[in-house]
Amino acid sequence: MSTEATIPTGTIEEVEGVTPDALREQMLKGLPSKTLRKRAKQIVSNDPETPPEIGANSRTIPGIITQRGCTYAGCRGVVIGPIHDILHITHGPVGCGYYSWMTRRNLARVPEGQTNYMQYCMTTDMQEDHIVFGGEKRLAEAIREAYRLFKPKAISVYATCPVGLIGDDIHTVCRLAKEELGINVFGFSCEGYKGVSQSAGHHIANNGVFKHMIGLDDTPNDAKYKINILGEYNIGGDAWAIDELLKKCGISILATLSGGVSYDEIINCHQADLNVVMCHRSINYMAEMMETKFGIPWFKVNFIGADSTAKSLRKIAKYFDDKELIDRVEEVIAAELAVLRPIQAEIKAKHQGKKAAIFVGGSRAHHYQDLFGDIGIETVSAGYEFAHRDDYEGRDVLPNIKVDADSRNIEELDVEPDEARFRPRISPEAKQKLIDAGFAFSDYLGMMREMKKRALVIDDISHHELEHLIKTWKPDIIGSGIKDKFIIEKMGVPCKQLHSYDYGGPYASFAGAINFYKEIDRMLSTKVWSYVVPPWVKDRKAAAPEAPAEEQKAA
């Protein structure tokens, strides 16, 4: 285990008089046997000292109402979509392109002279005859038309389910288009049926970005402390908030993969001296490949939560081992915390001891525990939508993860050091010295080591389990996504969307943390829930207090 772990103390014995084990039993009771066997592995009671094995990144059980999406969504929607000046073409029937059009809140500020293709949905809108006779010609023509009209610097093509099945060779179409048009054109075989969730799409996207973009522009960058932020998608402006904070410290971000970022920044970002990883799940592949090829070390950071942000800044400063930077970072942290602490204290006093549950993503269910913790709210249950075992149990579990058929289908790139461009950013001695002092490179502790003993960890939570959790443990607030939000709120519990932030944010960095504290305070203090039962209900002769729904209907 990493030397950086701080094991939380205390045990969640019971919530609302029900132990975690009893709640788990309740969730599993009555499930069909095959479903029960599988879900039993995916719902575990935590042990931060030695995280138990959790079933993760396994096939979704048909019919259980999952939160999960598909490989296409993970590739086009999450990782590549935020690159605003690439022209994105979805090859397939109209739906996939349509639904991934401006629905994720990866915001972009577009400098003068660049184009924001994110406001456009470009698709080949395949019809029946293209399915029957093949869609390659149509794709080639669509690329030509896109180039003729808009002259983009790069075009990216995404395959949807039927494209894979009918055997359209999008990569050859892209290669030929690249030769014909003289711009960068590349494709992603991210058909929705690949893998078991969005996660496969992240991997495919990482591979494509690495193959087709990283390292294309060797223009030197002479900034002093040059880093990339990996796995940050600028939802609600998070990347901008991080950018602003690091600028105050004198640290330059060459590229944020992928949020508020341009093609030119990405093709030059191998000039950085460090990669820091926010969302380990979606981008650890890129961090590894860039280290192997160019010698850029990586480590995990978290700018969600005040203490986590301070810790991450200090870690970056320590890596560069420069007194000027270390002092500057301390000054910035002190100044930011001077503003934050009084607000945090005031809100914490109101909500200390409340309970949260978080079911989202592949890192947010972990990161947001820090933010809730900042204001005294404990996360009693959490789980990811599409993470792997290492995101729960820590990266040291990697050698023990059995690679199943679904994961084996996703290409692993064979990366070698680039002879001309490989350059160790830190000497082996200096690196060893840091490691000896407890500094963790290329590591991720996982969610479980930072949750209390016996907290309930639930992978790919199903609707059924969520209902049990709410009815039995009665969390005060739940962090989840759009598909669950109104189910949860119909049950009288506020739900903060942690994919879209309910159109608020940013929540990263110190400034973002303040936004979050205030937002959660608003959600927990709103009077709306107190009005649910009309004033006359108590006097109604035929009152049935346990069923307010029926009473309202009768009214």
């Binding site: 059980i61 048909p62 470009m122 080949t124 029946e128 389910c161 039927p162 969730s197 049950m491």
Partner: protein
């Protein structure tokens, strides 16, 4: 903001930019939610189901439960029978609906899964509990659009469930087409005001417009019950409201059970509502009550009062075909000048229908099936309009060109009114008159020279 569009209309044969439609399955999912105690099931990759649930949720701001067969690469190669059978076991054991309504996706269509055979086999093997119902519709994403999927599921509902016993219910069937719950509620209110016995199917009111009670019900009280759908075959007549989302189901019911139908447009606006009311009263042989005359009169009164601000205002109308067809007629009634009438729907039927409504009075109007919003933007740049009527996807054009957008149709992802107020019936028309006049007058108040900025209008 959308700075790629120019006043030149680009020639494209393969590249669709900013489509004014989406794919079939979301329509099937929405229609299925209008059956009481029904779980829509998406037979394909789980991403389809996730996208459709997300989008419906964003529009309605309500829980949208639906399940998926969660295909992986193996299922895509060997077929999705095992996935669907396992899904049915799980759905009935865990969520216990009365009906599961399966729709296909491009994936399961391409591999050619035979859904009726899978359902039959599941039933034979006891995977579908006694008394429970499984229906299906084929909704390939590469044919038609979201409205086709809605229509196909409505046909599927009739196909599987409607029966003819020979004993008349004395009721009128109403196929509402793709409308919001607030609209369905208004259709029912009008039928009740007339004193007409009816069955509305599908019916998403009290499913996707639920009150906040602190209690979540997966199957709320709304939705057309299966028993009621079965008896649709014994109705005296059907009224189908929308060529693209309602007529096919009415035709199917006629073919299957011999129930004749009247094919109308969605009752948006004065004339379309007149036709709805008139059809119901003729079929049921009832007098229209004075209360409805009064509603109609109030609508007419407000149109007359405010009509000067609508006169010859050029307008772009886009969205799903039944919405656009009905709205075009209403726009003409208001005195607006339809200029661009776009739908993403495929087929000449849309253009023919709109031309019939325009009746040669607007020779410059451009009517387009398979249109996309990029072309609409190009045309607006070339020759502007003063008002856009369409769904939320028009907001970028509205901002780029400084043209007010009045939201109607599907989806509306950024406002709340559609959940509360209908667009159908005289009341719906009043609501639209208010929205359109507010938008035009607000724009005028914001932009006119100060000497023309007036208190009274």
């Amino acid at each position: 903001m959308l700075d790629l569009a120019t006043p030149t209309i680009s020639e494209r044969s393969a590249l669709k930019i900013n489509p004014a439609k989406t794919c079939q399955p979301i329509g099937a999912m929405y229609a299925a939610l209008g059956i009481h105690s029904c779980m829509p099931h998406s037979h394909g990759s789980q991403g389809c189901c996730a996208y459709h649930r997300s989008h419906l949720t964003r529009h309605f701001k309500e829980p949208v439960a639906a399940t998926t067969s969660s295909f992986t690469e193996g299922a895509s190669v060997f077929g999705g029978m095992a996935n669907l059978q396992q899904a049915l076991i799980n759905i009935f054991s865990i969520y216990n609906p009365e009906v599961v309504a399966v729709h296909t996706t491009c994936l399961s269509e391409v591999i050619g899964d035979d859904i009726p055979t899978i359902i039959k086999k599941a039933r034979e093997e006891g995977k579908i509990p006694e008394g429970k119902t499984v229906i299906h519709a084929n909704t390939p994403s590469f044919v038609g659009s979201n409205v086709t999927g809605y229509s196909n599921m409505c046909v599927g509902i009739v196909n599987y469930l409607a029966e003819k016993s020979g004993e008349s219910t004395e009721a009128i069937n109403i196929f509402p087409g793709w409308l919001d719950p607030s609209d369905m509620r208004e259709l029912k209110r009008l039928a009740e005001e007339l004193g007409v016995k009816y069955t509305l199917c599908p019916d998403t009111s009290d499913v996707l417009d639920l009150p906040q009670t602190g209690v979540y019900e997966m199957y709320p009280k709304g939705g057309t019950p299966v028993e009621a759908i079965k008896r649709m075959g014994d109705a005296i007549k059907t009224v189908a409201l929308g060529e693209f989302t309602a007529h096919a189901a009415a035709q199917k019911l006629n073919d299957k059970c011999g129930v004749p139908f009247e094919a109308l447009d969605a009752p948006i606006g004065l004339t379309n509502t007149d036709l709805y009311i008139d059809a119901l009263r003729r079929i049921a042989e009832v007098d229209v009550p004075a209360s409805i005359d009064a509603e109609r009169g109030r609508l007419l009164d407000v149109i007359q009062d405010i009509g000067q601000y609508f006169h010859e205002v050029p307008v772009a109308i886009f969205g799903d075909p039944d919405h656009v067809v009905a709205m075009t007629r209403f726009a003409i009634e208001l005195g607006l000048k339809p200029k661009y009438i776009f739908s993403g729907a495929t087929g000449r039927a849309f253009e023919n229908r709109v031309h019939a409504i325009l009746d040669g009075r607007f020779p410059d109007a451009i009517v387009k099936q398979q249109g996309d919003l990029f072309e609409l933007h190009e045309r607006i740049k070339a020759d502007p309009v003063k008002l856009i009527l369409g769904n939320t996807y028009g907001k970028h054009i509205g901002r780029a060109e400084n043209i007010p957008l009045v939201r109607f149709g599907f989806p509306i992802l950024d406002r709340v009114g559609h959940r509360l107020f209908p667009t159908v019936g005289y009341r719906g028309a009043m609501h639209l008159v208010e929205k359109i006049s507010d938008a035009l007058l607000d724009q005028r108040d914001r932009t006119c020279p100060e000497e023309w900025f007036e208190l009274v209008q």
